[in-house]
């Protein structure tokens, strides 16, 4: 047994409710456990309790006992526990504090007071495992998100803890980065480390874990084998269910398949292949009704090129956005997605080519003028909140742009559930609430186009559902939506068109099904078709084979 919680309750100082509430938990050596639950269910606090940061670093009220590798965490300081249990935090930037990747990996080893030879040996081992070979002499802060994550992981596994914890490691990774991480975690398993993963998006890792623990309001709401837990009624706990499980559930079918093979076997067993594929095809055709594109486009991007420090980032990018469309911009990290969207309101200017908004050339127009037509909801709402109250925060844009429509603002307050929060300081809100404030603030000026930058990253299922609802409402009001995302499941469900960006070029543009069918473009952009689409294709193929 590597970890044991005995009746643990904890609340942060000044907090009213208990973040952990009478938790009993045992994890065995070498076991892989997925901890799921909605935002605020206590997942991150649980991780911190495993390495002693709670209660040593965060003070507060603490009841019960946690044993890590047999050590009582209340009796041993963090610097005695860190060799037994290591945590990879959510924010990669804040956990890399050395000059080079190599010294990042060495830091913990120096803390352990290891001999020179031992340090070299472990350095070599960890860098190989976390695939950091070429990066060892680079400064960590100039690496990509996926690379930083691997450095953070490497710096922890170098300590060879018997328990490794990862707090939402998949949030900022693109599909390729997620694959790399899964591969590394599989090797960790063979090294005999116990693994605790915290994640909303169950499908990222569910096939590789032995057990799921569902956390709800600081208590364990359900636990067991993945298949068993998902077969139970877990929809109230804010879990983003694996896509095939959700599909089966929606169609009222028995079985909770985690993989494509499971799903096909299940359908064969229940003798439902033909009716199921017919229904699935019907659904798909219902969704792919193309929108009328007769109205003049909102945005016209014509052959835009842009380079950064002499390196081309965008090359001849060309597309149009029409009224009422919901378009997903997808592609690898570093493909140029952020650079592209920053052109839409003039934060960046093309080096060649032109960009028209509502038919007007944007060259020479200030950002403040363009931003009345193009609104942004950034990934991190903390980048913009600065007013003393939520109300003033939402009013900031309209006031700066001289467009203020009180009845529209009131409508937004109701729509985003902010009415009871209007006088609160935005800084005291939860992350999900902040996100809603930034949404309302962007919409307050009634932009024709709204750009959502990774709207689902780090958000739980209830936010995803709200977001889907907002998107539908906006489309009904003929607002155009551009969704920048790695979350292809979300993009396939809610966008009616995909733009695929790879190495600065748009390599595919069309309805999701058509893009996913273009396997060459998908591979080039490092994307994988959604499981629902894969299932549909597999069933179609089975039908053809029979015929």
């Amino acid at each position: 047994m590597i970890l044991r919680f005995e009746g643990v309750s904890y609340r942060y100082s000044g907090a009213e409710s208990w973040t952990l509430n009478g938790l009993d938990l045992t994890v065995h050596a070498g076991e892989r456990v997925l901890i799921a639950g909605s935002s605020g269910s206590g997942k991150s606090t649980l991780c911190r309790a495993c390495i002693g940061l709670v209660p040593h670093f965060h003070h507060g009220e603490w009841i019960g006992k946690v044993f890590v590798d047999g050590l009582d965490t209340t009796r041993h300081p963090v610097y005695e526990l860190f060799r037994h249990a290591g945590l990879v935090f959510q924010n990669t930037d804040a956990q890399l504090f050395n000059q080079t990747v190599e010294s990042e990996l060495t830091y913990g080893l120096e803390s352990l007071g290891l001999s020179h030879d031992e340090i070299e040996q472990r350095l070599d081992w960890a860098s190989r495992l976390a695939e950091l070979g070429d990066l060892m002499n680079r400064p960590p802060h100039f690496l990509s998100g996926g690379e930083k994550q691997r450095v953070a992981l490497g710096s922890i596994i170098a300590l060879r803890p018997r328990l490794l914890l990862l707090d939402e490691p998949f949030t900022h990774l693109d599909p390729q980065g997620a694959d790399d991480l899964r591969r590394i975690l599989r090797i960790m398993k063979s090294e005999g480390m116990a693994l605790i993963l915290v994640e909303h998006r169950l499908h990222e890792i569910i096939q590789d874990v032995d057990r799921i623990i569902v956390l709800h309001q600081g208590k364990i709401a359900a636990q067991g084998l993945p298949g068993q837990v998902l077969a139970r009624e877990v929809s109230d706990y804010g879990l983003n269910l694996p896509p095939l499980v959700r599909l089966f559930r929606e169609m009222g079918l028995k079985g909770r398949p985690l993989s494509l093979e499971d799903a096909i076997r299940e359908l064969k067993d229940q003798n439902l292949v033909t009716p199921f594929s017919a229904r699935l095809l019907e659904e798909a055709s219902k969704f792919s009704i193309s929108l009328p594109r007769t109205s003049p486009p909102i945005v016209e991007v014509e052959n835009i090129c842009f380079s950064y420090h002499g390196l081309p980032v965008l090359r001849n990018v060309h597309f149009k956005l029409h009224r009422g469309e919901c378009v997903a911009l997808v592609g690898r990290n570093g493909a140029g997605k952020t650079t592209l969207i920053k052109h839409l309101n003039g934060l960046l200017r093309p080096h060649s080519g032109c960009l028209k908004i509502l038919g007007q050339e944007t060259r020479g127009k200030p950002v403040s003028e363009l931003s009345s037509h193009v609104g942004f909801v950034w990934q991190n709402p903390n980048d913009q909140l600065f007013q003393p109250t939520v109300r003033e925060e939402v009013w900031t844009g309209p006031k700066a742009l001289g467009f203020y429509d009180p009845s529209w603002c009131d409508e937004l307050f109701t729509r985003f559930g902010l009415v009871s929060l209007l006088e609160r300081s935005p800084f005291t809100l939860s992350e999900g609430q902040k996100k809603r404030v930034s949404f309302a603030a962007a919409l307050a000026v009634k932009p024709e186009l709204i750009v959502l930058d990774e709207p689902t990253a780090g958000q739980d299922e209830s936010f995803r559902r709200e977001l889907a609802k907002f998107i539908v409402e906006l489309q009904r009001e003929e607002c155009t939506i551009l969704l920048v995302t790695h979350d292809l499941e979300f993009a396939a469900e809610h966008a009616n068109r995909w733009l695929v960006l790879a190495e600065g070029r748009i390599i595919a543009d069309g309805p999701p099904e058509a893009v996913m069918a273009d396997s060459k473009a998908m591979i080039q952009a490092g994307l994988r078709p959604t499981q629902g689409y894969q299932l549909l294709q597999a069933l179609k193929k089975m039908k053809e084979d029979k015929a």
Binding site: R48, I51, L53, H56, F57, V78, Y79, F82, G86, L87, F89, N91, D93, A94, Q95, F97, N98, Q99, S103, T106, Y107, G108, L109, E110, S111, L112, G113, L114, H116, I119, P139, H141, S155, I156, L159, K342, N345, L347, P366, V367, S368, S371, S372, V374, G375, F376, W378, N380, N382, D383, Q384, L385, F386, T396, G397, A400, L401, F427, A441, V445
Partner: protein
């Protein structure tokens, strides 16, 4: 050494000696192939030098203005050279060697290293605020819209500091008996630099003629 240079520049009060030292510094900049970064740096410093020059001219006289502008430029360049050529790790190692306790030395070098991270955050914040229609275009508008920039930056910096502290604790920052992979050592070059610096400083104070000469 850079501190010694800074003190020297403060004592120099003739434009000739300042021009000579500036020329030496520039030669070093070119020798180390730092011309382009220096120009970028000068874009920022130049503005300060110019303001300083105008104020000194109005308040005192023309020669004073020239000398103080040159002095500021020389000092800025000296510090620029220092931070361009000295990795923060070397700085913290040197401090450790001088007997500064480990936590202080480490925090100093780590905070230098987080400057680019904060600059990146600030850029994100500026973009986010401009995208809402707040006209932050540089110059004076930076000042009038300071809360829109400083507010989010401060909040993020506090949160960041907290997370950083957690991460450091979790890798044994507080442990007694840390053992270094590369033990910081003073080589003879370092000792030479110290001796030369001390000698120059002593001479400068002992014999004011030296400066004028």
């Amino acid at each position: 050494m850079v501190f010694v240079a800074a003190i020297l520049f403060m004592i120099f009060h003739q434009w000739a000696s300042l021009t000579v030292s500036l020329a030496i510094l520039m030669a070093m900049v070119l020798l180390l192939r730092l011309g382009l970064p220096w120009l970028n740096f000068f874009k920022g410093l130049g503005f300060a030098v110019l303001t300083f020059f105008v104020i000194a001219w109005l308040a005192f006289d023309f020669p004073t203005a020239v000398v103080s502008a040159l002095r500021l430029l020389a000092m800025g360049s000296a510090f620029f050279l220092f931070f361009q050529t000295t990795p923060p790790e070397a700085l913290s190692n040197a401090l450790l060697k001088m007997g500064v306790p480990y936590p202080f030395a480490f925090v100093l070098s780590a905070s230098i290293q987080f400057v680019p991270v904060l600059v990146r955050r600030l850029r994100n914040i500026r973009d986010a605020q401009r995208a809402r229609g707040i006209p932050i275009e540089g110059g004076l508008s930076l000042l009038t819209h300071l809360p829109a920039l400083a507010g989010p930056l401060l909040i993020q910096a506090f949160k960041f500091a907290d997370e950083l502290a957690e991460a450091m604790e979790a890798r044994g920052f507080g442990i007694p008996g840390r053992r270094f992979r590369h033990v910081p050592r003073f080589r003879w070059m370092d000792w030479m630099a110290v001796i030369v610096s001390v000698a120059v400083l002593v001479m400068a104070f002992w014999n004011p003629c030296f400066i004028r000469g």
